[in-house]
Symmetry: C2
Subunit: 329 residues, 2 copies
DNA sequence: CAGCAATTTGTAATCGATTACAAAATGATT
DNA sequence: AATCATTTTGTAATCGATTACAAATTGCTG
C-alpha cells in the first residue's frame, strides 16, 4: 500500500499538498489537484487512519459496549445507533463484553488510546467506577441501563411505570395472584420493575408474596423455563406472570405449555422488550415495547454532540404495552 | 493521559528504556525496571495503541464481518472466535454490514489502514471481488459461507449432505410431498441445500415440483410465515417442509399453527442451524445443528496462523440432525 | 515593469511509540 | 589497575499523516 510520500513524488508535489487535496482544503489550484488525484488513483492510495489519527487524535469510530449479542433486544438499538453514526461520518464497532471486567478494560483502553472517539454502553454490569472515571475525560453515553444519581448522560425508559402498567393490566383482567419473574436486582431496571410491580399490587390491595417473586441468574430462555417450573410447584399457584424480559417470558411460556396448562386461560403472561420472537410464539406474547430504534438514534446523537464538546441532557423515552394473545383470556 | 516521554522523564531514563520495560525486553536491570514501573503507576500511564501500531504495523485486532447481528445463528460462532482470539492476545470487533457494500468498504479500509490485522467474514453477500483483492495482501478467512473454487481459506459444513439427510429423514417418515423453503439462490449454501434436497427426492423416486420450492428474500421470521402461506394455498399441499434456516422454519411453524393445521401430524417440519429459540417453539423444532462454537474457534485459529504467515487449509466440519417434536408424527 | 497583495506551495515540526546502533557502565580476569 | 567482554542505557531515525509558518508564485495596479 502506497503512502503519502509516494503519491507526492508521483504527482511532483510535496506531501503537504497531497494532504490538502485529501482534506479538501481550499487553497489548492485546480491543476495541482488534478495531478494529485491522478497519482492517488494510479497508486491505488488510501490514507492510513493510523497516521491521521495519531496526528489528529480522532478516529471517527464509536464503540458500542453490550454484554451479549445473543439478546435480540439490542438488535434494533444498534440499527438506530449505526444509521445515525453513518449519517454523521462515524462508524461503530460492536464490543461484546460478556459482562467481563477484563474485556471491558480492553475496550476502555481503546478509548484512552484514541482508537475510538466515544462509547455507548448498554452493559448494566459494567464496572461503574471505571466507566465514571473514563467519562470524566472521554465522551460516554449510557443506553437503556443507567446510573441513578450518576453523572453520565443516559437514554432510557421509565421502567417502573412500564412495570406498573403491565401488572395493572393483569389485575384488570381479574388476576389476583400475580408472579414476577425478575432478573438479578443488582441491575437498576430489575429494582425499578419490581417497584412498579409492587406499586400496582398495593394500589389494588393485593398482597406481595415473596414466593411469587423469582430471581433468575441470566436472561436466557432456560432461565425462564426454570423459573416457571418453581412457580408451578407452589401450593398456591399464580394465575398470571409478569417477566422482566421477553426471553424469560418465552421460556416461561414454553414451561407452561409443557406442563399441560393453557395460556392465557390458566395463566396469563406478559414479557418486556417486544423482541421479534415475541410475535412468533404460540400464543403470541403480550409485552412492553421499548422504542429501541429511537433509543439508538438518541444515544448516538447525544454521543456525537458530546464529542463535539456540547453538554447533553439525559432523555426518558415513551414505552407501549402491546397486548397480544398471552393475556387475551 | 501521559505519554512515554513523561514517564521517561519522571523515571529519569530515556524513552527507549521505558519502551523496553513495556515490551518486557530482557536487557533492563531490575533497578531501572522498578523505577520505570513506579513512574508508570504514578502517572497512570497506558501506552498509545496508535503510536505503537503505526510503528509496528500491528493492531492485534481482528474484524468479524457479519450481515446482521439479529440472526442468532452467529452468536455461538462469535463466542468461539472471541475466546480463541483472547487466548492469543487478540481482540475482536464485530462489524455489521447489513450486506451493504459501502459499509463493507469501511471495514475493508480498516484492514488496509492497519487498524486491524485480519478479517473473518461471515457475510455471504459480501463483495467477492473486493474481498479476494483484500485477501491477496491481508489475512482473510471465510466462515460458514464460502467461495467455491476461490482462493480464500474457509470453514464450513457440508450443506448438501446435511440437506440430503434432513430430507431423507422426512421421506423415511412416509412423506412423499416435501416442500423446500429456500433463501435466495445467489448464496452458495442455498444452492447446495437445494441440491441435497433434490438428490434425496430423486433417490427415492419422488418428483421435484417447482411449486413446492419457495424462495424467500431474507431470513426473518415473517419470510417464513409468508412462504408457508403460499405453500398452504396450493392445490396439492405438501405434507412436510424443509426450511434452510431455523428462523424461516419458525415463521412457517407459526403460520401452520395459525391455519389450524397440526405439526407434525398434518405437516412435518425441519429447520437448519439449531438456534436456541428452536427448542422453545411449540412443538420443538427438528433441525440440522452446525458446530457453531467449533466453527468460530477454527476460523479464529486459521486467521491467527495466517497472520503469522503460515499457510492454512480449508476445513469442513461435521453436522448433526437433531430430531425433535416437529417431525415426531 | 516595479511594487504589493493574494494565492498557492513547500519545509519541517509534530503526534507516541519502537528499535538499530552507539555509547556508557559494569564485571571479570590477569 | 589495565584490558576486554558483557550488560545496560541513550540517541536518533522511523512509521504516515497534519499543519504552522515561510517561501514562492501569480495577478493586479499605477
Amino acid at each position: 500500500m502506497a503512502n503519502i510520500q509516494q503519491v507526492a513524488e508521483k504527482a511532483g508535489v510535496s506531501v503537504a499538498t497531497v494532504s490538502r487535496v485529501l482534506n479538501h482544503a481550499a487553497s489548492v489550484s485546480t491543476k495541482t489537484r488534478l495531478k494529485v488525484e491522478n497519482a492517488i488513483k494510479e497508486l491505488n492510495y488510501e490514507p492510513s487512519m493510523l497516521g491521521r489519527n495519531l496526528r489528529n487524535s480522532e478516529s471517527r469510530l464509536l464503540l458500542v459496549l453490550l454484554p451479549s449479542i445473543s439478546n435480540p433486544f439490542y438488535t434494533e438499538i444498534i440499527n438506530g445507533i449505526q444509521n445515525t453514526a453513518i449519517a454523521n461520518s462515524y462508524n461503530i464497532l460492536l464490543c461484546e463484553t460478556d459482562s467481563n471486567p477484563q474485556r471491558e478494560n480492553i475496550y476502555f483502553n481503546m478509548i484512552k488510546n484514541k482508537l475510538a472517539d466515544g462509547v455507548i454502553s448498554m452493559d448494566p454490569a459494567v464496572n461503574r467506577q471505571k466507566l465514571t472515571e473514563i467519562a470524566e475525560s472521554y465522551p460516554v453515553i449510557l443506553c437503556s441501563e443507567y446510573d441513578e444519581g450518576g453523572s453520565i448522560p443516559f437514554v432510557t425508559i421509565d421502567s417502573e411505570l412500564a412495570a406498573y402498567q403491565a401488572v395493572k393490566h393483569l389485575i384488570r383482567l381479574g388476576n389476583k395472584k400475580i408472579a414476577l419473574i425478575n432478573s438479578d436486582e443488582k441491575f437498576l431496571y430489575a429494582r425499578q420493575r419490581r417497584s412498579g410491580y409492587e406499586r400496582a399490587l398495593k394500589e389494588f390491595g393485593l398482597p406481595i408474596r415473596e414466593e411469587w417473586i423469582f430471581h433468575t441468574k441470566d436472561l436466557e430462555f432456560h432461565n425462564g423455563v426454570q423459573a416457571i417450573r418453581v412457580l408451578l410447584e407452589l401450593e398456591e399457584k399464580p394465575t398470571a406472570v409478569f417477566a422482566v424480559s421477553d426471553t424469560l417470558a418465552i421460556g416461561a411460556l414454553k414451561g407452561i405449555n409443557g406442563s399441560g396448562l393453557h395460556v392465557p386461560n390458566d395463566l396469563a403472561i406478559i414479557g418486556f422488550d417486544n423482541i421479534s420472537f415475541s410475535n412468533m410464539t404460540n400464543p403470541t406474547l403480550t409485552t412492553v415495547s421499548q422504542p429501541m430504534y429511537k433509543m439508538g438514534v438518541t444515544a448516538a446523537n447525544m454521543l456525537i454532540m458530546n464529542i463535539k464538546g456540547e453538554q447533553v441532557e439525559s432523555v426518558v423515552l415513551d414505552h407501549d404495552l402491546i397486548i397480544r394473545e398471552s393475556t387475551m383470556g
